[in-house]
C-alpha cells in the first residue's frame, strides 16, 4: 500500500484517542504496521488535539508533519489542522463543515445507533471507508473492546461504525479506495511507558514511588493497574519523598525505581546525590518535556540530558540510558536495574512525551534472554562486614539493611569503610572519592556503542539519541533514495560515553533542544568535530521533514 498519514483531530474529551486506536488496530488486524502518536494541550476538556496514525507496508514508527487524510470531529479542529493536509488530501468533517470532501453527521448517526456516545464509532467507521479497510475488522475490534460491557453496547458500537462507514462510502464515490488486501504479517502495538514497567518487573523491581507529573505518570499507573507485575506502588507527597522512599526500599534489598519529568527531577537531585554517596542502586525515569519551569507540560523535548548528567551535588558516577522505542525500553530498563545493582549507583532512563504517547508497531516485542538476579553481592562476607570496604574495582560487598547476620551502616556523610561519619581528610576521604569514581571508570568500559545505520561509505552521518531514531532513519532513507551518501549513528547508552573510533565523515547532531546538549558532550568527551546541529525546541517531536529541511 501507499504510505498513509491519517490525523484524527478534535477537542480533549471528544474521544479522538479511541478513534485513532480503533483505526490503527484495524490496520494491524489486516497485517499492516500502524504507528500512532498523540499531541494535546495541557487541559482536561476542549482545545485542539490530534492522534496521528502512519501506516505503510513496512513499519514507519515516526511522526509526519503532514496528513493525507484529516478527520476532524468539530469545525474548530478542522480549521486548526487543515494546513497540515497534503495537496489532494482528504478532509472529513462533521455535517455543516465548509469545503470538506466527506461530511459525516457524527451526532445524528450516533443517536440513531443508540446515543451520542457512539459518535467515535461513527468516525472510526468513516475513516475505515476512507482508507479501504473492510468494516469486518473494525466490527470485531469493537466486539473485543466492549465485550465485557454487554451485547447491547457492542451492537450499538457496531451499528454506529457501519453507519459511518456507509455514509463515507456514499460520499466518497469514485474516491473510495480499493479495499486493502489482508496480509499474514503480525505486529506488536505498544508504547514505551507500557513496556518500561514490564522490563522493570522482569528485572525484579519490587518498589515504585512517584509523584504524578506529565508525561511520566503512565509508568506508575501501569504498575498499579497490573498487580501481576508484583511491584508495590505509592503515590508520594512530592518527588523528594518518592526518591527517598525508593532509596530506603532499595537499601532494604528491594530493587526500586521512581519516575518523573524535569521539574520533579529537580526536586529529586539531592536524592540522586544521596544514592551516589550511600552507593545504593536506584532507577529513575525522567520523561522529558519542554522547560524551563512548567514549560509545556504535554509537549516533547530532549532538554534534560545535561541536567540528568549533572543533577546532584558532589562527584559520583551514574549511568544514563535513553530508549528509542518500546523494545529498547524493555531492554534498557532491565539494563538500568542491572547496572544500578552491579555498580551501586543511580541509573537514569531518559524518555520524553513523544515516546510516552506514541504506540509503535514492532515485529518483535520480547524480554531479554538473560536477566540477572537481585543483590549480586549478598553472598560476600568475611567475619567483619564493612559496607564500604575498599576494593580494587571500587564496588564493595553490598548487604541489605536487615541482614540477619551482619549489621549494615549507610551514611550520607563521608564515611569510613564501616559506614560511620568520618573527618579523616588524610586517608579516608581521598580513598572514598577514588573508590566511588573508580566504579565510573569501570562502568565506562561496558557502555554500548551507538547503533549504525548505512554508515559504510557515508559522507555525512546524522547522530541522534533516544526517541528520535526512527525519524532520523526515515530522513536517511529519503536522502539515500535521492542518491546521497548519508548514514546515521544512534546512541541509547548515553553516559558514560564509551571510547569510540568513529569513521571520517561530516557529523550532524539531531536533538530535541536548542543548545545542542549531546553535540556538546560528543565534542568534549570524544573530541568529535561537529559540522552541524539540528535542534528542535518548539515542543513537537523531530520528524524526517524537519531534518531534511535543515539539511537542504
Amino acid at each position: 500500500m501507499k504510505p498513509l498519514s491519517l490525523w484524527i483531530a478534535g477537542a480533549a474529551g471528544e474521544g479522538i484517542q479511541t478513534i485513532g486506536d480503533a483505526v490503527a488496530r484495524s490496520f494491524l488486524t489486516h497485517g499492516y504496521p500502524a504507528f500512532a502518536t498523540s499531541e494535546f494541550e495541557s487541559r482536561i476538556r476542549g482545545g485542539n488535539s490530534s492522534v496521528r496514525v502512519r501506516v505503510a507496508d513496512l513499519p514507519i514508527n515516526a511522526p509526519s508533519p503532514k496528513a493525507d487524510i484529516l478527520l476532524a470531529v468539530n469545525p474548530t479542529a478542522l480549521a486548526f489542522y487543515r494546513p497540515a493536509l497534503t495537496e489532494g488530501g482528504l478532509a472529513i468533517g462533521p455535517d455543516g463543515s465548509d469545503s470538506v470532501d466527506v461530511s459525516i453527521p457524527f451526532k445524528a448517526l450516533a443517536e440513531e445507533s443508540g446515543g451520542a456516545i457512539y459518535a467515535n464509532a461513527v468516525a472510526a467507521g468513516a475513516l475505515c471507508a476512507a482508507v479501504g479497510i473492510p468494516i469486518g475488522g473494525l466490527r470485531q475490534l469493537l466486539a473485543e473492546a466492549f465485550g465485557e460491557r454487554g451485547d447491547e453496547i457492542v451492537q450499538a458500537n457496531q451499528a454506529a461504525a457501519k453507519a459511518g462507514f456507509d455514509a463515507a462510502v456514499e460520499q466518497l464515490g469514485d474516491r473510495r479506495p480499493k479495499p486493502i488486501p489482508s496480509r499474514e504479517n503480525r505486529y506488536a502495538f505498544a508504547s514505551a511507558h507500557e513496556t518500561i514497567p514490564i522490563g522493570a518487573a522482569a528485572a525484579g523491581c519490587r518498589f515504585m514511588a512517584a509523584y504524578p507529573m506529565s508525561p511520566s505518570t503512565g509508568i506508575i499507573t501501569a504498575f498499579a493497574k497490573n498487580p501481576q507485575l508484583g511491584v508495590f506502588t505509592e503515590q508520594a507527597e512530592d518527588e523528594i519523598s518518592a526518591v527517598n522512599m525508593a532509596l530506603g526500599a532499595s537499601a532494604a534489598g528491594a530493587r526500586a525505581m521512581t519516575a518523573t519529568s524535569g521539574g520533579g527531577f529537580a526536586l529529586m537531585t539531592e536524592g540522586v546525590s544521596l544514592a551516589g554517596m550511600i552507593e545504593t542502586p536506584i532507577v529513575i525515569v525522567i520523561a522529558q518535556r519542554p522547560g524551563p519551569a512548567t514549560g509545556l507540560p504535554t509537549r516533547t523535548a530532549q532538554e534534560d540530558l545535561l541536567f540528568a548528567l549533572r543533577g546532584g551535588h558532589g562527584e559520583f558516577p551514574r549511568a544514563i540510558l535513553a530508549p528509542s522505542d518500546p523494545q529498547d525500553a524493555i531492554d534498557l530498563t532491565v539494563r538500568a536495574f542491572d547496572l544500578a545493582d552491579r555498580y551501586q549507583i543511580p541509573v537514569i532512563v531518559l524518555t520524553d512525551q513523544y515516546l510516552a504517547d506514541s504506540t509503535f508497531a514492532l515485529e518483535t516485542l520480547q524480554l531479554p534472554p538473560e536477566i540477572s538476579g537481585v543483590l549480586k553481592s549478598e553472598e560476600s562476607t568475611s567475619e567483619i562486614y564493612q559496607r564500604y570496604r575498599l576494593t580494587e574495582d571500587g564496588v564493595s560487598p553490598r548487604l541489605r539493611l536487615g541482614h540477619p547476620e551482619h549489621l549494615v551502616v549507610l551514611d550520607s556523610d563521608e564515611h569510613t569503610e564501616a559506614g560511620h561519619i568520618t573527618e579523616d581528610l588524610d586517608e579516608t576521604r581521598p580513598a572514598m572519592v577514588e573508590k566511588r569514581l573508580e566504579k565510573g571508570r569501570r562502568l565506562k568500559l561496558e557502555m554500548a556503542p551507538p547503533s549504525a545505520h548505512e554508515t559504510d561509505g557515508a559522507e555525512r552521518i546524522l547522530i541522534g539519541w533516544g526517541s528520535t531514531k526512527d525519524a532520523i532513519d526515515e530522513a536517511v532513507e529519503r536522502l539515500r533514495a535521492d542518491g546521497r551518501a548519508v548514514g546515521s549513528l544512534h546512541f541509547t547508552e548515553i553516559w558514560p560515553l564509551p571510547d569510540l573510533e568513529l569513521p571520517q565523515a561530516e557529523y550532524w547532531v539531531v536533538e530535541g533542544n536548542a543548545t545542542g546538549q549531546f553535540a556538546g558532550l560528543l565534542e568534549s568527551e570524544l573530541g568529535l568535530a561537529i559540522a552541524g546541529r539540528i535542534g528542535r525546541y518548539d515542543g513537537r517531536p523531530i520528524d524526517a521533514d524537519a531534518i531534511l529541511e535543515e539539511l537542504s
Binding site: 488486524t29 469486518g136 518498589f207 561519619i421
Partner: protein, 291 residues
C-alpha cells in the same frame, strides 16, 4: 547494664559532653534490651543534625540519610522489610521543619515506624538558629530581636491525624523515657515520641527551666479522648504534657494489603515474577489477524 549491652556502639561520640541526648541514647538502648530485640532486628533511620547522629551510637542497622528525609526513607525500609523494627531518631528541625511535609503525610500513611523527635527548640549543629519549636520572642543567634513566628504544634497535628500513639518524654528522666519508648516500639503503626532535650550549648535556659514546664499526665488522663488530648498538646511550649498523650487501637498500617499478599515477607525474599506472566503481558500487545 553496660557489660551486656549488645546495642552499645564503639563509634566515637560527637555530641557535646553532658548533652541530654546521652539520656535519650541510654533510654533507647534500655528499651531495645527490655524488648529482647537483637541488633540485627533493628534499623535506625535519621536525617541530619546532632540528634541525627544518634543511629551511629547504637549497634544496629543504620540509614543516616538526608536532612528532613528520614521519614520517607524509613517508610521505604519498613515496606521492603516489615519484620525489621524501624525507628526514626532525629531532631525537631529535621522532622518538623525541613521534613514537615513528610511528617504530615507519614501521619496519613501510618507506616509501622517509631519516630523519636529530639526537641531542643533550636538548630544546634548550625550553631543556634530558631527551630520550628522555638517559642515566640526567644532570641537566637539569627533571630537577634527574637523569633517573630509561632511555634509549630506537631504533636497536636499528629493527634488530629489520628496517629494512634503520641507521647512526650524528657531526656532527663531515663527510666520513664525508656518505658515510653518500649511502648511506642511495641505499638503497631506509627508511634511518635517527642523528647524534650534541653540544648546545653545554644539553649537560653538552664535544664531546670525545662523541667519545671513538664506536666506529667495523671492517672485520670484518658488517652483515647482525641479533642482533650489535642488541647493538652496545644499547651506547648508553655507547658509540656509528658507521658502517653494519645493512644487508641491501631488502625491499618501502610502497605497492609501488600503485606497480606506476600505473607509479610521482606521484598528481597519474594521470588522473581514468573517470566511467563511477563511474556503474556507482551503477547497481549500483539494484534492478531481477524477473520
Amino acid at each position: 547494664m553496660t557489660a551486656e549491652n549488645r546495642f552499645r556502639s564503639d563509634v566515637p561520640n560527637q555530641w557535646c559532653p553532658g548533652c541530654p541526648n546521652f539520656g535519650i541514647l541510654a533510654a533507647m538502648q534500655q528499651a531495645l534490651l527490655a524488648l529482647e530485640l537483637q541488633p540485627e532486628q533493628v534499623c535506625l533511620v535519621s536525617g541530619i543534625g546532632q540528634a541525627a547522629k544518634f543511629p551511629h551510637y547504637v549497634r544496629a542497622h543504620v540509614f543516616n540519610g538526608l536532612h528532613g528525609r528520614a521519614l520517607p526513607a524509613a517508610t521505604g525500609i519498613a515496606v521492603a522489610n516489615p519484620s525489621l523494627t524501624t525507628i526514626v531518631t532525629s531532631g525537631d528541625g529535621d522532622l518538623y521543619g525541613e521534613g514537615g511535609n513528610h511528617f504530615l503525610h507519614t501521619l496519613r500513611r501510618n507506616p509501622d515506624l517509631t519516630v523519636v523527635v529530639h526537641n531542643n527548640q533550636i538548630y544546634a549543629l548550625t550553631k543556634g538558629q530558631a527551630a520550628p519549636t522555638t517559642p515566640r520572642c526567644e532570641k537566637t543567634r539569627l533571630q537577634v530581636e527574637g523569633v517573630e513566628v509561632d511555634p509549630a504544634h506537631m504533636l497536636a497535628t499528629a493527634i488530629a491525624h489520628n496517629c494512634t500513639f503520641v507521647a512526650r518524654g524528657f531526656a532527663g528522666d531515663i527510666p520513664a523515657l525508656s518505658d515510653l519508648l518500649q511502648q511506642a516500639i511495641g505499638h503497631r503503626g506509627l508511634s511518635i515520641v517527642e523528647v524534650i532535650q534541653p540544648c546545653i550549648t545554644w539553649g537560653n535556659h538552664p535544664i531546670d527551666w525545662y523541667r519545671e514546664k513538664l506536666l506529667p499526665v495523671g492517672e485520670e488522663h484518658d488517652p483515647t479522648d482525641r479533642l482533650r488530648t489535642i488541647e493538652l498538646a496545644l499547651q506547648a511550649p508553655e507547658r509540656w504534657a509528658t507521658g502517653i498523650l494519645y493512644r487508641t487501637d491501631p488502625r491499618p498500617v501502610f502497605a497492609e494489603s501488600h503485606f497480606k499478599r506476600i505473607d509479610g515477607r521482606a521484598m528481597v525474599d519474594m521470588p522473581l515474577v514468573d517470566r511467563s506472566i511477563l511474556e503474556e503481558e507482551l503477547s497481549k500487545r500483539r494484534v492478531s489477524l481477524s477473520g
